[in-house]
Each structure stands twice: as C-alpha cells, then as structure tokens.
C-alpha cells in the first residue's frame, strides 16, 4: 500500500459532509459596509483614507481606501526612455486587478477590464503633469487594485491616488488631480436606495446604487486651478442636468482635494521635507 501511495495528490477521505452554516442575520440590502450608503446623505462624499510613501522601492507611492475600493499606486521615474528620441516625457500607466479584487475572482492575464480603465486614467492624469520638462524620459505608474466595487469609484480613487503618488515622487505637476463621481438615479424604479431625494442625484454611488444609474459622470479635476482634466459620461443625461452634475462633482472634488493635500503634507514631513533651518 505504502509503495503505491501518490505523494502529489491529497488523499481525500472516502466520506464527507458539507459544513452547516448559521443563516446570516439580515439580508444584504440593509447591511452596513464600507461601500454602502448607511449614514451619509445623497450628496455627501465617502470617507477616504490616503497615505503616501508606503512602497519604498518606488520613487513615489500612494495608497487609498475609499469605500469598497483599495488601490496601491507606485510611480517609477523619470527614468531614461529607450530610443526613439522624444522631446516630451512619456507617461505609462497600467492598472492591474489583484485576483481577489472582486467577486467573482478574476482570472489573471485574461482580464480585459484594466485596459480601457488604464486609458481613461492616463487621459485624466496627463494634463496634471509637466511632461515637457522630462525629455527622453518616461514616467511609469502602476496601480494595483486590491479591492474594487464600482468601476466609477475605481476610476476616481485611482486618479486621486495616482496624482498623490506622482507628487510624492517629486515630479513637476500643474496641480493635484482628484476624481469625483456623480450619478443620476433612474426615476423609473421609484427610489429604492436609502434616503434618496433632491432631484435624484447621488454622489459617490456604491455598487448596488450604480446598477440603477440612468446616467453617470466621472470628473477628473484640478481644484487648485479650477480646471477639469477629463470627463467620462455614461448613460443618458440632459445637457442642463449634465452641467449641474459636473458642478456638483467638482465641488465634491474640493473636499477630496483637502484630504489629498493633508496626506501629502504629512507624507512630506515624514520624508524630511519640512521647515529648513535658516542658512
């Protein structure tokens, strides 16, 4: 018997019974969680945790938690770019999802979602960087999504954390880019979400709220300069309402900008950029 034992297989017992779980106390609809809207109003933004300088190998890095989204971002560069010569710096941005980032699990390599997301994020981030100061160089940005819920939230949190990491790397920027999401809730299903009123607009929608969206806008902006870097609109919205949504998203971005600025100043002080003694 022992001579024919196969070491490479796990010998399963001949009989087995599945484990019995106690039923969960409440249905998932009213359950509290980081990605759900429990105690915040329709135009109140999510709490955000942001920290820079956590990845020591990178030239600059940032980590963000916003609702059900966790993203780690690292920036390498400016590093010399192989030929051909380019008078401007080039920006390479790559979004990767961890296999455990979403439910159901993602198959690595065959995942096609990161590609359009990377392109969108690149577009949102490009106007914030002084690329003309970096000829013959490239700036490489890698975002690893550790946990994700709604795509719009990944996009807006991704922009916020990427500009934090770029600033942390000491790369010249026009201003800090932050993302904001505003959703127009469909009036057809008659208000399923919690505490929804005020012309059906929702800031920072959660995943189950997003499924009821009639239209949605992700705005990338530089609040310090009052400029918009990118607009991503899905669904169907009136022009007037779209303008209103953009305005509301931008004013929400200002709050995010405050958090971002605070995190960057704290990170800079930790790295030793602080009050210098008079020379």
């Amino acid at each position: 018997m022992s001579a024919t034992f196969d070491r490479r297989r796990i010998p399963a017992p001949e009989h087995s019974t599945p484990p019995i779980y106690e039923p969960l106390p409440s249905s998932s609809e009213n359950e509290a969680g980081p990605s759900r809207r429990t105690d915040r109003g329709p135009l109140e933004s999510r709490p955000i945790f942001l920290k820079t300088g956590l990845i020591s190998q990178a030239n600059g890095s940032g980590y963000i938690e916003s609702g059900g989204v966790k993203i780690a971002c690292s920036v390498y560069g400016p590093r010399p770019k192989p030929p051909p010569y380019s008078p401007q710096g080039s920006l390479n941005l790559e979004v990767k999802f961890a296999p455990f980032a979403s439910d159901p699990r993602r198959a690595p390599l065959r995942d096609t979602e990161p590609l359009p997301l990377s392109a969108l994020l690149t577009q949102s981030l490009l106007p914030t960087i002084h690329l003309h100061l970096y000829p013959k160089s490239s700036i490489d940005i890698y975002l690893v999504v550790l946990e994700s819920d709604a795509l719009s939230n990944v996009l807006s949190a991704g922009l916020t954390v990427a500009s934090a990491a770029v600033a942390d790397a000491g790369i010249d920027m026009y201003g800090l880019g932050v993302g904001g999401v505003l959703m127009d809730k469909s009036s057809v299903d008659g208000g399923v979400g919690v505490g929804v009123e005020e012309d059906g607009l929702l800031l920072d929608p959660s995943k189950d709220e997003e499924t009821r969206a009639k239209g949605m806008i992700v705005v990338g902006s530089m609040p310090a300069l009052g400029k918009v870097t990118n607009l991503f609109l899905t669904g169907e919205v009136d022009v007037d309402q779209a303008v209103d949504m953009i305005d509301k998203a931008i004013s929400a971005s200002k709050e995010t900008h405050t958090i971002l600025a605070q995190a960057l100043v704290e990170g800079a002080e930790e790295r030793g950029i602080g009050p210098v003694p008079a020379a």
Binding site: N59, Y76, G77, P78, R79, P80, P82, P83, P84, Y85, T128, H130, L133, Y134, P135, K136, S137, A167, D168, A169, G170, I171, D172, M173, Y174, G175, L176, M222, A224, L225, A261, L264, V265, A268, E269, R271, I273, G274, P275, V276, A278, A279
Partner: protein
C-alpha cells in the same frame, strides 16, 4: 538676500506673496507661471534667492545641466558615463541609468586637437560635467571644457585615491606616482 518660508507647498499652490513681491522674480525650478501667478509644481519649501524663486522638493529630474557622473566605458573618441547627480541633487533611483557621452572635442577648452582620451579619464573616475545637449536617442552629450569641470575623484592604478596637483596631473600620495587626468579645479581655490 535669500529668504524662504517654512510652509510646505503642494503642486498648484501659489507662492506666498512675501516671496513674489516686486521686483517680479524669475522662475527657478519647481515653479511655473499660470494666470499671472507663480505656483509651485512640486511638494516642497519655497525659496527666493536674489531674483530667482524656486520650490525645493525631494528630488529632481536629471534633464538639467551640471552633472556629476561616473565613467563606465572609454573609447579613443569618447568616454561613456552614467549620470548620478544633477544640480547637486541625486537623480531618482531606478533600474536603468541615465547615460552620457563626453566626446573628445568637448574634454578641454584649449588644445582640443591634442587631447588623448586615456590621458584625461580612466574607468571609475568621478567626473563633473555640463550637459551640452540632450544628445542622441540614447545618451546626453556632456562637456568638461571649463576649468572647474573634469575629474573630481579618481583612484590610482594601485587603488589609492588621487590628489590633484595640476590641471592635468593627479598624484597618488602613498606611492608618489603621478597620473594624467583632466582635473577639475577644486572648489574654493
């Protein structure tokens, strides 16, 4: 008249008015002008030295002149170097390195035609140079054609540090042997 502030600025934040007071200053590194205002472009401390305002951040990119570098490869016509510092600040660490080339014509200011590469640089020398241009696709073109540019630190054949004795000679203090280099004029002399 150097003055600085203790407040950390972030990209897009205007410089304090005490630093941008008339006469309107020139822009140094880490700042840019937008809508008539001077804004910071990196995280750092603003500083005004004479007529130039700048924001001093953590690191700087290597595409600016005045570079310290290490010789990695020598050929009769040019010396290949890797750039390590720029404007007295280290270049960002990365797996690839910025490379530069000192062509034989750019080694010395005078008697350019008599320059022999082997009598100016050796492998492993630490060289201070100016960036002439962005160069070709691969490397920056550097120049040591000035008195204060050239070899800053070198070791002799027996491995001891060399001390400059003249503008084209360095001496090993332990063996007394002299070797030829394109020596940088030491600072403060």
């Amino acid at each position: 008249m150097a003055s600085s502030s203790t407040q950390i600025l972030l990209p897009g934040q205007p410089l304090p008015s005490s630093l941008t007071a008339p006469p309107v200053p020139q822009l140094g590194s880490g700042v840019y002008e937008y809508g008539g205002k001077i804004l910071a472009s990196v995280i750092g401390i603003p500083k005004r030295e004479g007529a130039i305002v700048s924001v001093i951040g953590r690191e700087e990119s290597g595409n600016t002149p005045d570079v310290g570098s290490v010789v990695t490869r020598l050929s009769p016509l040019q010396a290949h170097v890797t750039l390590t510092t720029s404007n007295n600040r280290p270049l960002p660490e990365s797996s690839e390195e910025f490379v530069g080339v000192i062509r034989i014509g750019d080694v010395r200011l005078t008697e350019r035609d008599k320059v022999k590469m082997g009598e100016c640089f050796r492998l492993g020398d630490l060289v201070k140079a100016n960036v002439l241009s962005l160069g070709d696709a691969r490397s920056y073109y550097l120049s040591t054609a000035a008195n204060e540019l050239g070899v800053v630190y070198a070791t002799s054949e027996s491995g001891n540090p060399l001390v400059p004795v003249s503008y084209q000679e360095m001496e090993d203090e332990q063996t007394g042997k002299r070797e030829r280099r394109k020596v940088a004029k030491p600072e403060g002399i």
